[in-house]
Amino acid sequence: MSAEQATTAAPQPKPPVQVLYCEVCTFPPEYCEFGSRLSKCKEWLKSEHPDLYDRYYSEEALQSKLGTMSLEQQTKLEQEAAKKEAKAEAKADAKMKKKMSSQVQIKRIQRQKNKYVTAIHGLEAFDIDLKKAAKLFAQTFATGASVTKNAQGLDEIVVQGDVSDEVFDMIREEKGVLKGVPESNVELIEEKKKKS
């Protein structure tokens, strides 16, 4: 390093730009108009950042936004946005209905006279990451827990030992990643060892 360089002030890292993201669609608010939840985005922005709301949705903003697009293109864009929004809502509704009719089963399975495992399935319908849930069970009970496919080809979590009541409580108390499963959608089942 030359003497000249050494005497210059210590270089400073450039600070990051703090970008605001829409809490509804996750885009920067200037892009909400291209998302599928524009009316909800607008509601959010209006209540949280009224200054930005004016910047993006005032009469002049809407005028200048057209940029090099023709009015016809813009109308088409708006129609498509409305269609997209309706579709996204219908999809979200259907998903919610499906969720609410899904069941989580906690099954106590007897492997030997005094040995049990607990199988839990149906958590994925509630958007719960099975790998993370298995890890949580393993840590909580200091035992083995894994994600496997059951006989029907569906993913389930198998925890060593009889922890079915504890698992039920954890789901009810929404511990860690176990969030959003209504108690009435959880059932406890016992599977006895088949007599051979």
């Binding site: 990051p16 730009v17 920067p28 057209l66 090099t68």
Partner: protein, 184 residues
């Protein structure tokens, strides 16, 4: 690249990265991005180890404390994630598409030359022309923040000259599955 990318099935595993490899990654970032060592240090401090998240189709995502920072396809250019680019917009050269191209881009389409050469688009002037095969920040007419990141398929001068077909391939954009992957 991140269309129908499902973390549960498309991520095959996470591994630690050897320190020699971390050094060469750091050197790669310094040579490929317009970034000074101090700013890079504030993004990825030397004493912190980066994790390699291996994905399908030879996509490698590099994450720091679970936050994806940059990624690579085979041994191609190192791309920042769009969120990182938003924080440090100067690290990649800029191209801009017109407003009409926005919805196509957000639907996962590659960007055709006319989107850059029309009135609302923008390409660097001849003296700052970019060759084919480099990472670019894709901005959009009337918008402040980048909408996506791409790789030039033609040089920017050829995009102007040829003016048809794909000019820039989009590797990640607002709302794709990498955008949704905030934590790994």
């Amino acid at each position: 690249m991140f269309k129908k990318f499902q973390p549960s099935t498309d991520i095959s595993g996470q591994t630690a990265v050897k320190s020699s490899v971390q050094r060469s990654l750091r050197a790669g970032l310094l040579s490929q991005w317009k970034i000074d060592p101090d700013t890079l240090e504030s993004i990825w401090p030397k004493k912190e180890n980066i994790t390699l998240v291996k994905c399908r189709d030879h996509i490698s995502i590099y994450a720091l404390n679970g936050e994806p920072l940059f990624f690579q396809h085979f041994d191609g250019p190192l791309y920042p994630t769009l969120r990182l680019l938003h924080k440090y917009p100067f690290i990649l050269p800029v191209v801009r598409v017109d407003r009409g191209a926005i919805r196509f881009l957000l639907a996962g389409a590659h960007m055709m030359c006319p989107g850059f050469t029309s009135k609302g688009g923008w390409l660097p002037p001849p003296e700052e022309a970019l060759p084919a095969g480099v990472a670019v920040a894709i901005h959009a007419e009337g918008k402040e923040h980048a909408i996506g990141i791409g790789i030039t398929k033609l040089s920017t001068e050829d995009i102007k000259k040829v003016n048809k077909g794909v000019g820039v391939e989009v590797v990640t954009h607002l709302g794709d599955d990498l955008w949704a992957l905030q934590k790994v």
